[in-house]
């Protein structure tokens, strides 16, 4: 992120995703289903067998992933140089894992459950945005290391 305001975009998006995942987790543990504007899809998805992994709501797994991304994205705000680059790689790695999983869940919604949960779709969208931003940062850092190589040569 080159601009000062832009650097807050990643933690901001992570917070949105975290809030969404925590909300879905709490509802799951309370045995409630998220509001869906009269459409039954949220209930279908969140009570499907796929909504849990060995008793742990997948939303809680997402919340755990987002909590890690929040810590890394906040740390990145203070880091510089190689440390910033390493933190960006960790963020990219976590976002990539998240993007794979939300793709799987969205695929299940479309093909197996045949119903969509808006809250899950928002989480999927945020995760892909984060992957895009992290990948862009990885690319920018990579292009700088390329210049470094030329300079050394």
């Amino acid at each position: 992120m080159s601009s000062r305001n832009g650097r807050w975009m990643v933690p901001g998006l992570v917070l949105i995703g975290l809030a969404d995942a925590v909300y879905l987790s709490v509802l799951h543990w309370q045995g409630e289903v998220p509001p869906c504007g009269g459409y039954g899809g949220c209930a279908q998805v969140n009570t499907s067998p796929f909504a849990e992994t060995f008793g742990v709501p997948i939303a809680a797994m997402g919340a755990g992933l987002y909590a890690m991304m929040l810590a890394v994205s906040l740390a990145r705000l203070r880091l510089k140089g190689a440390d910033f680059a390493y933190a960006t790689l960790v963020l990219y790695s976590l976002a990539l894992a998240g993007a794979l999983f939300v793709s799987y869940v969205t695929g299940l919604e479309a093909l197996v459950i045949k119903a969509f949960c808006y809250w899950c779709l928002v989480l999927a969208g945020v995760t892909f945005l984060l992957l895009g931003l992290a990948a862009r940062d990885v690319w920018v850092i990579g292009s700088r290391t390329a210049r470094y190589r030329v300079t050394r040569a």
Binding site: Q30, G31, E32, V33, G40, A43, Q44, T47, P49, F50, E52, T53, F54, I58, M61, K80, G81, A82, F84, A85, Y86, L89, V90, Y92, S93, L94, A95, L96, A97, G98, A99, L100, F101, Y104, V112, I113, K114, A115, V138, I141, G142, R144, T145, A146, Y148, R149, R152
Partner: protein, 233 residues
């Protein structure tokens, strides 16, 4: 900003990508394993506490858990295609049954109100056909797990027959029961009974005579049950 040599960065990016993909794949694999385990595990009388077993039975075509002498009767009218019924059945029933059914104070009765279309009626009939072979609870549990949309084929005759095969029912007997509509008139009679009782949505739950609609919270259900129990003391 001088960072590191390009080759090292490239290796690190590859490593991060591999780790990310590995983490995602592991999470997906665990979910799939968990689901396949869950699909194979349906609620059965054998998995309930022994105190349930005396009252886990079918009385005529009415299925219930708990003592016949219980002062409080919780009657649940549901449709196997109704998502809210599924939520109620999967999240409320196990908790409430666990807490109250073994006490002899509460009986949980499960009734059909198949109003969402032909697959609702078929599913209810199939559950009754499974009941003929002593597998109502397992079949009911499987129906909730396999619910997908309304009248889109999830409860087609072929699928309903495959569920029976999955549970190890006598396939020929089950198929004949379903194909001949052995329990159709009973299921439709239940539907008429529900409508005559003023029920127009599912799930509709009665705690004795107190009518509750939608998906009441567990706390709301417990409060209603406790109030009824207090009246009987």
């Amino acid at each position: 900003m001088v960072l590191m040599p390009a080759r090292r960065w490239t290796l690190l990016v590859l490593l991060a990508s591999t780790l990310g993909v590995a983490l995602g794949v592991v999470a997906i694999a665990l979910n799939l394993i968990s689901v396949s385990t869950q699909m194979a595990r349906t609620r059965s009388p054998g998995s309930l506490p022994p105190s349930y077993l005396g009252g886990l039975a079918s009385q005529g075509r009415v299925h219930y858990i708990g003592s016949l002498d219980a002062p409080v009767v919780v009657t649940e009218w549901s449709d196997f295609q109704c998502p809210a019924c599924r939520v109620y059945a999967l999240t409320r029933d196990p908790v409430l049954e666990q807490q109250y059914a073994g006490t002899g104070q509460v009986r949980f009765v499960y009734r059909n109100y198949p109003f969402l279309g032909f697959e609702s009626v078929l599913a209810a009939q199939a559950a009754e056909c499974a009941a003929d072979q002593g597998k109502y609870w397992e079949y009911r549990s499987l129906l909730w797990q396999r619910q997908k949309g309304e009248n889109q084929g999830a409860f087609s005759p072929d699928n309903l027959k495959s569920f029976a095969a999955e549970l190890g029912l006598d396939q020929a007997r089950f198929n004949a029961c379903l194909d001949n509509g052995t329990h159709r008139s009973e299921v439709l009679a239940e539907q008429r009974e529900a409508e005559a009782s003023g029920i127009n949505a599912t799930p509709t739950i009665f705690v004795n005579d107190r009518k509750m609609q939608g998906v009441p919270t567990i706390d709301a259900m417990k409060a209603a049950i406790e109030e009824e129990l207090a009246k009987k003391r």
